[in-house]
Each structure stands twice: as structure tokens, then as C-alpha cells.
């Protein structure tokens, strides 16, 4: 698997931000089912801020860049998503460190760090019906793809497919964390907003990569 530079990191983060803005209504509707409907609004307002300050983000190295993005998110996004997503970006950045390129293995380590950060911040585990239920299988899948010798584009396509499946599988779970957990058994039957959000965003990254990632 070839290595990834700042240009690709830019592509991925900008795609995440744009997907969050574009899906404001959809993500909000997902959260309205057993939550309070603000997931889309929160993400959109926060990532609008990321896009607005895009050119000025410190790009000394990939680690610094991701940490700065994490700080904007934490500062600007309210609700549960601000601390959760902010922590994820900051942990990923800390793990990347002062580097200009990332190997596949490094990306796996960054995702694992993000997952650990979210678990600590949210006191959540896999199976609690949160975005972790997509992030963890997606990271596992990336690891498997690397082991199988896939390139980045192949790995991303596989991850996007895994994410979609995993997000849909949250419909069978009972929420044990976050606002949805108050509804107990009634949370069963609908997908988790955060989990589906991650899957949708991964789909967009996959598309963007196939289009521009190799350049």
C-alpha cells in the first residue's frame, strides 16, 4: 500500500466536512427518531467553521493539522458530537505525529487511537449503538485489506461497504449510551444517527478518492 501525504489528508478531511454540511437535514432526521434531532445541525455548523478557516489551518505536519481540526470541532460543535468528534481528530493527530506521509499501518493506528479516545470520552463500548459500531469494524477491515495487499482505493471501497453494513446493523441494537439510551427497547428498529453518519461520510470519501485520490 502506497503512502499518503498532506494532499490526501486534505482531500479526506475536506470531504468529511463537505459531507457533514451537505447531509445536515438527513442526519438531523436520523437523530429525530429516538434522539433530539440536532445531530445534523451540530455537525454542519461545526464543519462549516472548518471549511471557512480551511486555508489558514496550520499544516506544519499531518499531526498538527489534524489536532488543529480537532480543536475547531471541539470549540464549535455542541451536543455530544463536539467532544466526541473533536476527541477523535485530536487523538488521530497525536498518533500521526510530526510526519508528512502516512502508511496504511499508521492510518490503522490513528483510527484505533480515535476509537480509544471516543470510548474514554463517551464511556461507551462496541455494542452500545453509537458511531463506534461503525468505526471499529471499519478499522478492522482496513487492517485486513492491508494484510491482503490492497491499495488505498481498494481498501477505501471495502471500508465504505463495511461501514454501510455495520451502520444498518445498529438498527437491531438497543442504545445504551447517549440520548437514545433513555428509550431502552424503543430504540431498537432504527439505525443510530452517528453510526449512519460515519457510513455516509465514508461513502463520500470513497467516491472522492476514486475521483481525485491518486492525483
Amino acid at each position: 500500500m502506497s503512502s499518503t501525504g498532506q494532499q490526501q489528508v486534505d482531500l479526506v478531511v475536506r470531504t468529511i466536512a463537505q459531507a457533514a454540511v451537505d447531509n445536515e437535514k438527513y442526519f438531523g432526521d436520523l437523530d429525530a427518531v429516538v434522539g433530539d434531532g440536532d445531530f445534523g445541525y451540530s455537525l454542519a455548523r461545526g464543519f462549516e467553521n472548518v471549511l471557512a478557516g480551511w486555508d489558514d489551518v496550520d499544516r506544519t505536519d499531518i499531526g498538527t493539522f489534524l489536532k488543529k481540526i480537532g480543536m475547531v470541532i471541539t470549540a464549535r460543535i455542541g451536543g455530544t458530537s463536539g467532544p466526541i468528534w473533536g476527541t477523535a481528530f485530536m487523538r488521530a493527530g497525536m498518533t500521526a505525529g510530526a510526519t508528512d506521509t502516512l502508511t496504511g499501518e499508521q492510518v490503522v493506528a490513528m483510527l484505533r487511537a480515535a476509537v480509544e479516545g471516543i470510548k474514554a470520552r463517551g464511556q461507551a463500548e462496541v455494542g452500545d449503538k453509537t458511531l463506534l459500531d461503525v468505526l471499529v469494524p471499519v478499522t478492522d477491515r482496513l487492517e485486513a485489506e492491508i494484510a491482503a495487499g490492497s491499495d488505498a482505493a481498494q481498501a477505501l471501497a471495502a471500508m465504505a461497504a463495511t461501514a454501510q453494513e455495520a451502520a444498518e446493523a445498529t438498527a437491531d441494537m438497543v442504545a445504551r449510551r447517549g440520548r437514545a439510551s433513555y428509550t431502552g427497547e424503543r430504540s431498537r428498529g432504527s439505525v443510530d444517527a452517528g453510526a449512519m453518519g460515519v457510513a455516509v461520510i465514508l461513502g463520500r470519501i470513497d467516491e472522492a478518492w476514486q475521483r481525485e485520490g491518486a492525483s
Binding site: A32, P83, R177, Y182
Partner: protein, 331 residues
């Protein structure tokens, strides 16, 4: 959606601007951090009391900033906990040598933002503590969940800690008082209609013409169950039974009884609920000695109400009786 709104994204800032214009002498509005504070806070002689939460619950909490209650409210967007930075900036602005008490309703997002904000403030030498409020009995507490939600009962915690702070109590003592009130406060609510968040522009959930949501959350979260609409007395009986048996409150108790409107229910109907609750408590040998009938902690324009009981003793009664001066007033 038919609401008085301009740009939904400016809903909260415009509301706060209006609030500041209506209270030019007593309040200070800090737009950068979405913050409303007493113009004369912080004071060296007083613990600063701060409440944070999402917006959409007005008058909670921005309209109860004032003497004897909050030194500041740190609201987020509609139904969204404030971002951590607002919490941090608020703690800095309200820093007092006697300390800052952050009151947080028990929701994941709020707790995270306030924990992080607290850590950041502490790293700059500010004395900060958090008190979590969790009065909603609607959903059974269990190790699988994050614990009970904080809802309208937080008014009583605010009033009590506000009074304790006003008389110069130390931070520890203020916290003791606040915990004590939280421990004897229980609430449950019911929705007759869904609310419409301005940014969503449509009702947050669907409720049939003959359905109600029993145990609804103040963000429109589902509650215990969806039921058939019935009359006012039957609804009160169900709410009250859930609340009374939870603590439990028992014969001989003296209580404060709050009937809180959720935003779209006129006060005439709230008094019809109050009447039944008062009567039913009397039947159980529980005496209502303090009465609260109004909107305290709403869910935007939701039609519905919640019932709160607070078990009183002399100490709590005196704190609830203390004077206060806040923007939400009639004359």
C-alpha cells in the same frame, strides 16, 4: 413551520440580544461565547452559579440569570449542549475566589462539555466544581444507561444554590445544599404534541391526533410509552404516581409542587392539572406548602406539562423562600 423566526441559525443569538435589550442594567450579553451574565458578577464575596444546557427550554436558563439565582447561563444551540469553549470562557469570566459552581443537567453532551471546560479552567487556576441534576423519573435508571435525565426540577436546585451563594456560603456548602435538593426532587412529563426546532422546520416526531407521549424528555426524546389521549385528571394521576412512588414521598411529607408547561400549553390548563395533583397528594397525606404553576423548563412550542415534587424541610423551604430578581417576571 409557523414560528417567529428570521434565520433559524440566528435563533439563539437573536433571542439573547432581545433579552439583553430588555434588561440593559441587570444583564450583560457576551455574543462571542453565547453567554448571558449578571452585570455585577462575579463578586469576590459569592460563589458564582452557572447553568449550562442546550437552548429551547426558555425561560430556563437564560431568563433566570439575576440576583438570588444564576450568575450566568451558558446555553448551546437549540437542544445542543454548549461547545466546550463556551464553558471554559464562561468559567473564566465568572471566576471568583469563592469558586464557580457549574450546574449541569444529566445528558451525555452536557457532561462532556462541562467536564472538559472545567479541566481547562482548572488548568488556569480557577476553582470550579460541577453539580449534576437528574430529576426525571420517566426512564428507569440502570447501569446500561447514563442515568436519569435532568429536567424542570433543576429550577429548585438553582433557586436553592442561588440563595446559598447569595448569603455568602462557601462552595462546599453550596454544593451540599444543591445535592440535597436534587436528591429529594423528582419530575415526570407528558407531551400532547411534538415541538418544532427552528432549524428542522417540522415537528421533531409524529404523534397521532389521539396519542400522547408519557414520560417525554424536554428535547422531545421518547419516554415510557405512547398512549391514547385521555382526560386531564387521568394524566395527572399517572404522572403523579410515577413521581410519588419514585423517591418515595409519603404521608406526612410537606412538598413543593410544580406544574411546568412545556411551551405550547396555556396556563389555564396547567392550573387544571395543578388542581388534581394537589387533591391527589392530599389523599395520600402529602401536603403542598409551596406551589409553582408556570413555564419553567420548556421544550420549544411543545404542548404538554411536567409535574415536579420536592420534599421540603426547614432548610430547603427557607432557601426556596429567599428573594430573587430575574428577567422572567410579570411587572
Amino acid at each position: 413551520m409557523k414560528k417567529f423566526v428570521n434565520n433559524p441559525q440566528q435563533f439563539v443569538p437573536e433571542m439573547l440580544e432581545g433579552l439583553a435589550l430588555a434588561n440593559p442594567h441587570s444583564l450583560r450579553y457576551v455574543p462571542e461565547h453565547n453567554l448571558v451574565m449578571r452585570a455585577d458578577s462575579p463578586s469576590d464575596d459569592r460563589v458564582s452559579i452557572v447553568q449550562g444546557s442546550g437552548s429551547g427550554h426558555e425561560p430556563a436558563h437564560v431568563m433566570i440569570v439575576g440576583k438570588g439565582m444564576l450568575d450566568a447561563a451558558c446555553p448551546g444551540d437549540v437542544f445542543a449542549a454548549p461547545p466546550m469553549n463556551y464553558v471554559y470562557e464562561t468559567a473564566k469570566l465568572l471566576a471568583s475566589p469563592k469558586g464557580v459552581l457549574l450546574l449541569v443537567n444529566n445528558y451525555t453532551g452536557d457532561r462532556m462539555a462541562f467536564d472538559m471546560g472545567k479541566e481547562m479552567a482548572e488548568s488556569e487556576g480557577i476553582k470550579v466544581e460541577i453539580l449534576t441534576i437528574n430529576d426525571d423519573v420517566a426512564v428507569k435508571d440502570s447501569t446500561y444507561t447514563v442515568g436519569r435525565r435532568g429536567v424542570a426540577g433543576n429550577f429548585f436546585v438553582i433557586k436553592a444554590v442561588g440563595a446559598a451563594a447569595a448569603r455568602g456560603d462557601e462552595l462546599d456548602e453550596v454544593i451540599r445544599v444543591g445535592k440535597k435538593v436534587n436528591d429529594v426532587t423528582r419530575t415526570m412529563g407528558v407531551a400532547l404534541t411534538a415541538c418544532t426546532p427552528p432549524a428542522k422546520g417540522s415537528p421533531l416526531f409524529e404523534l397521532g391526533d389521539d396519542e400522547i407521549e408519557m414520560g417525554v424528555g424536554i428535547h422531545g426524546e421518547p419516554g415510557r410509552e405512547r398512549k391514547k389521549m385521555t382526560n386531564a385528571d387521568a394524566i395527572v394521576d399517572e404522572l403523579l404516581d410515577a413521581v410519588v412512588t419514585d423517591l418515595p414521598y409519603s404521608s406526612g411529607d410537606q412538598v413543593a409542587l410544580m406544574v411546568n408547561g412545556l411551551g405550547g400549553t396555556p396556563i389555564s390548563e396547567l392550573y387544571i392539572l395543578f388542581r388534581r395533583a394537589h387533591q391527589q397528594l392530599a389523599e395520600r397525606g402529602i401536603t403542598v406548602t409551596r406551589s409553582y404553576v408556570n413555564e419553567y423548563c420548556t421544550s420549544l412550542d411543545m404542548a404538554g406539562a411536567s409535574l415536579t415534587l420536592v420534599k421540603l424541610d426547614e432548610e430547603i423551604d427557607a432557601l426556596l423562600d429567599a428573594p430573587a430578581e430575574v428577567p422572567i417576571r410579570v411587572f
